[in-house]
């Protein structure tokens, strides 16, 4: 591996000051499962690597019914995968991190790292956006927060300033009668990047859709909120026919490209199939809550 200076700041303020001083030539190391691969392949050539694992308080994964879920920057995907509260209240996110790489990788890779990588095929982004998650940033000029949806600005691009790092994610507590699902389509079940991913969070009371989030992964440079599909369902009585119409609308919302994993046409077809199935799965979930 190309040589770099290795630093272990003890506080967020120290980490932010280091990032500022390096002016974009430093990389933040949390799980490292993406960063080290990128450095080995010379896709990134940082002069400094800033390991944030010594900063206290960032490994916290908590849930309460008022505040919702809090995922510290150091919380691993495996911790979310094996968390009973995550599986119960954030089933789509829990599924996304279970379908992710291998156990060895998930023991290191962080959820926040997956968000900051902002890969078009990122598994965690679609469920986080469907659940209206917020990302909390820390920088020299203070803290700010924004929806994950606004944080991811392009393929591999985020709203992070050069001196900023993500301290945590928060995800609102689900309303009653909410069901969630994430479906990932690939050539195999594990050790796979998504060809298409669909996350659905839906709230249905007495047959009426009160709220819905449908987010598509790997069919655009960033995750895409299927706004037309959502509008089709929101504030309307749910029926099999309506679900089918929403799935068709999602196909129009997608902006897929052709690449090594699939053609654009195939991806668009799969958006239709997976959106229907994900809505159906999420609807089953609402009945058990």
């Amino acid at each position: 591996m190309r040589a770099f200076e290795y630093l272990e700041p003890a506080t967020l303020a120290e980490a932010s000051a280091l990032l500022h001083r390096c002016g974009g030539r430093a990389s933040v190391l949390a799980g490292g499962t993406d960063l080290l691969v990128q450095i080995k392949a010379s896709h990134r050539q940082p002069a400094r690597v800033i390991n944030i694992k010594k900063i206290p308080g960032m490994d916290v994964l908590t849930f309460d019914a008022a505040e919702g879920l809090r995922i510290g920057a150091l919380v691993t995907t495996r911790e979310v995968e094996t968390s009973d509260m995550a599986r119960r209240h954030y089933a789509s996110l829990a599924k996304a991190v279970t379908d992710f790489a291998s156990i060895q990788v998930r023991n290191r890779a962080t959820v926040v790292g997956n968000v900051c990588r902002a890969s078009p095929s990122a598994d965690t982004l679609a469920p986080l956006i469907a659940d209206r998650a917020q990302v909390h940033l820390y920088g020299l000029s203070g803290s700010r927060s924004m929806p994950v949806e606004a944080f991811v600005t392009g393929a591999g691009k985020t709203a992070l300033a050069a001196d900023e790092l993500v301290s945590r994610l928060t995800v609102p507590a689900p309303r009653p009668y909410t069901g969630k699902a994430y479906l990932k389509h690939g050539r195999r079940v594990q050790m796979e990047l998504a060809t298409v991913g669909v996350a659905v969070s839906i709230t249905v009371e007495r047959g009426q859709c009160l709220d819905v989030g449908i987010v598509l992964a790997a069919v655009g440079p960033t995750p895409i909120r299927a706004v037309h599909a959502e509008a089709m369902l929101r504030d309307r009585p749910i029926s099999a026919g309506l679900v089918l119409q929403a799935a068709h609308a999602a196909m129009e919302d997608a902006r897929p490209i052709s690449d090594v994993r699939a053609s654009a046409d195939y991806r668009r077809e799969m958006v239709g199939v997976l959106t229907r199935r994900a809505i159906e799965l999420a609807l089953q979930e609402t009945e058990t809550h």
Partner: protein, 163 residues
């Protein structure tokens, strides 16, 4: 410039002088002289460098050497209960013919031990799920899965102390 890290390596306290930009895998193989942990892909795809870091199966190729400071590490060299006895997983790998070229074997054995430590009686699906991050290009996995199932079977009848 090299820096010193102190860790518990296979039950023994060790100090290693490592390059901060080297991986734990290279530190184990070159600085600690433990070459049982293999370098396959070096990007976290193949699992042949699987080690137990604070009890958790981890790809040593995706960890920076200085990150191992203060941790408890177990490699394939450290899983035998004593120098004359192989671990039950190793024993069953031999009995079932679960190794051909052997390059992936240390990673599979460590991963299987991690699985059985956490879940002593896994189903076949749970075994397949657990070893998804380990690649074997010789055996086709059937005998590896059988070896892990057989280990679980022998552990079921074994006294606690030998696990």
């Amino acid at each position: 410039m090299r820096q010193f890290i102190a860790l518990t390596l296979n039950g023994e306290p060790r100090e290693l002088a490592v390059e901060p930009h080297s991986t734990l895998l290279d530190a184990l193989r070159h600085d600690a002289g433990l070459t049982g942990t293999k370098k396959g892909c070096d990007v976290g795809e193949c699992g042949s460098c699987t080690v137990l870091m604070d009890g958790k199966p981890t790809n040593a190729c995706l960890v920076l050497a200085p990150e191992a400071h203060g941790c408890t590490l177990v490699t394939i060299e450290g899983i035998q209960p004593d120098p004359d006895t192989v671990h039950p997983v190793q024993d069953q790998f031999m009995r079932c013919g679960a190794a051909q070229c052997g390059f992936c074997t240390p990673g599979f054995v460590v991963m299987a031990k991690a699985l059985l430590d956490e879940n002593p009686q896994p189903t076949r699906d749970e075994i397949r799920f657990a070893i998804a991050g380990n690649i074997c290009r010789c055996t086709g996995y059937t005998k590896i899965i059988e070896a892990i199932e057989q280990t679980a079977e022998t552990l079921r009848h074994a006294p606690e102390a030998t696990r």
